[in-house]
Symmetry: C2
Subunit: 339 residues, 2 copies
């Protein structure tokens, strides 16, 4: 078996022979790891180019102890938000000498633990964990001594480096905006019951109400699971309960889409009859009708930040947990209530 651009497989030894020097010297030239006499350096470089040599990364990894790879644990459920983070990581690593290796957690804790194990076994030099629910101490155990960044999740222990979205303030922002527009009966479609993001956004919702000296109507709180279907179900449930509401705060844009569709099917217009606000600001949200007002999560940027953080940690740098703030993106799905 052979690879590479050309023939057999040219090794550092071949270069050494052709250039009339030793392996060591070739290595030194290639890595700029020591001063080498100019004429030898030249000979090595020429030989390298003539034979079309590209060093065997695997051998190099073994010898140097660094694999030049970063393990990325995804959850792969096809959520636009998490996917965008992965993309950001890939993009951010694109400018470095490190390559990302992916493993798929499938939102199952055991799978995630296995996947982390597989990545560790591959001797990745750093680890980026996107979302997921692996317990803190399990992470510590498996990734001890290994630079690790956790994205889109906030682990309280300061052993961990996290880049997460401040979901409380995000939920607060969305709700306060609706309140400012004059809404009082604001339904909320929550995300997965125990999902920390969902819990936090809900906390923000309550906080905005509290701050305004109001109390949300508990009957307007319905559960969902971040899917578009759950948005449909939630609206149907609200309408079947025959409750009055003038606005909906959806757990994420996808469920907002579902909610929008369900409202439309019942003949209710957004924002005339009901205002609607989402969470995420995914690509499509600016182009649905009406363009969706939402809280922007800079997913791609978070991924990119994570890649920078991990590179920095690998180089021995420092990093401390960062919360990124959501941004209210005002479009056209919210209007003051009619009356």
């Amino acid at each position: 078996m052979w690879y590479g651009t050309g023939m057999k497989n040219v090794t550092i030894e071949d270069i050494a022979r052709v250039a009339g020097v030793s392996k060591s010297t070739v290595s030194r030239v290639l890595n700029h790891t020591a001063v080498v006499a100019p004429e030898k350096r030249k000979a090595v470089i020429e030989a390298t180019e003539r034979l079309g040599f590209s060093p065997n990364v695997v051998a190099r990894s073994l010898a140097s102890g660094r694999s030049m790879t970063v393990g990325v644990l995804t959850q792969l459920i096809g959520s636009p938000f998490y996917d965008a983070i992965s993309q950001g990581v890939i993009a951010g690593l694109g400018y470095s000498d490190y390559s990302p290796i992916f493993a798929d957690g499938q939102w199952q804790e055991t799978k995630q633990i296995d996947a982390i194990g597989a990545l560790v076994g591959r001797r990745v030099d750093g680890m980026v964990l996107i979302g997921g629910g692996v317990p803190s101490d399990e992470i510590s155990r498996q990734c001890s001594g290994l630079p690790t960044v956790i994205v889109a999740r906030n682990l309280p222990s300061d052993r961990h480096h996290c880049i997460y979205m401040d979901n409380v303030s995000g939920g607060y922002l969305a709700t306060r905006y609706l309140l400012q527009q004059g809404h009082r009966q604001i339904a909320i479609i929550r995300g997965l019951e125990h999902h920390p993001d969902a819990v936090d956004r809900f906390a923000g919702y309550q906080q905005a109400f509290n701050e305004a000296g109001l109390t949300p109507d508990p009957r307007l709180i319905v559960d969902g699971d971040f899917s578009a279907e759950s948005g449909i179900r939630a609206v149907n449930e609200l309408l079947s309960r025959d409750l009055a509401f003038t606005a909906i705060f959806a757990a994420n844009d996808l469920s907002a889409f579902g909610a929008r569709l369900a409202l439309d099917q019942r003949g209710m217009q957004v924002p005339r009859d009901v205002s609607l606000i989402g969470f995420d600001d995914q690509l499509e949200s600016a182009y649905v009708t009406p363009p969706l007002t939402t809280v922007r999560q800079p997913a791609r940027e978070m991924g990119r930040q994570a890649s920078e953080a991990i590179l920095n940690l690998i180089e021995g740098g420092e990093f401390s947990t960062q919360a990124v703030q959501g941004e209210l993106i005002i479009r056209q799905s919210v209007a003051p209530p009619l009356r």
Copy 2:
């Protein structure tokens, strides 16, 4: 530096010592590569578990010549279609012992060539090329002797293994459906001018007209670039030209969303005033208002198929280029024309 679950770093040599056998025997037990006396086997397995040994994949790769990785070249532009293919590849590889390594081509030929080179340098055992525009013979050159699958692109040479969507028949399907519904003035928003997918879909559009003994109105053909913005621009252009049309075939769902929005802003309803059909069937398409009729491209499945194909090729199996057919997904954005 040390990794792993526990202490220093336990190697096969440690296991050998503890189990009272030689390295060779440990290797044989771990890889089931030869028969070993039951009691020694047991000793090895026990030692392995007790010390929490996980083999160094890098060393194994170097020795065996197989890196147990598959290189994936993406284009990372955030296109829902291409992204979904990547996800499919990750998912498909999840069940194997191979891990995907990503490199980002950024839709630039030079970047793509570099990226392929980097992957080859990493001694990947197989390569999955998603989209992109690297010339056929450049691929042959760099990937010679390396199992390679090209997804979402059809290279005529039979040296290559491709999994691609039949865009001609997809475009045909969409257009024929509109014709069947009674539309005659069918505008088309094309994708990027020289993009093969766009060209093919347009060919399908013409084919459907031909087959019906009709000719499309050339003034209803406008260019786009697969973005939502381009959908908006296209509709505005059509309307400003003051042309009569009863239906729009958009290059992809994203540009259909844009078109839908632009129509809405001009007070035109879908499908009452104008019917709209897209291409892709991305996640959100079922939940916009009205739910979008479209041609489904099984992106994720294509990625999964690619991963299966590459694993098969690595094992020495055969694979021949496959065209997957699009499927017309009828929802509610198309209706017969009013008159």
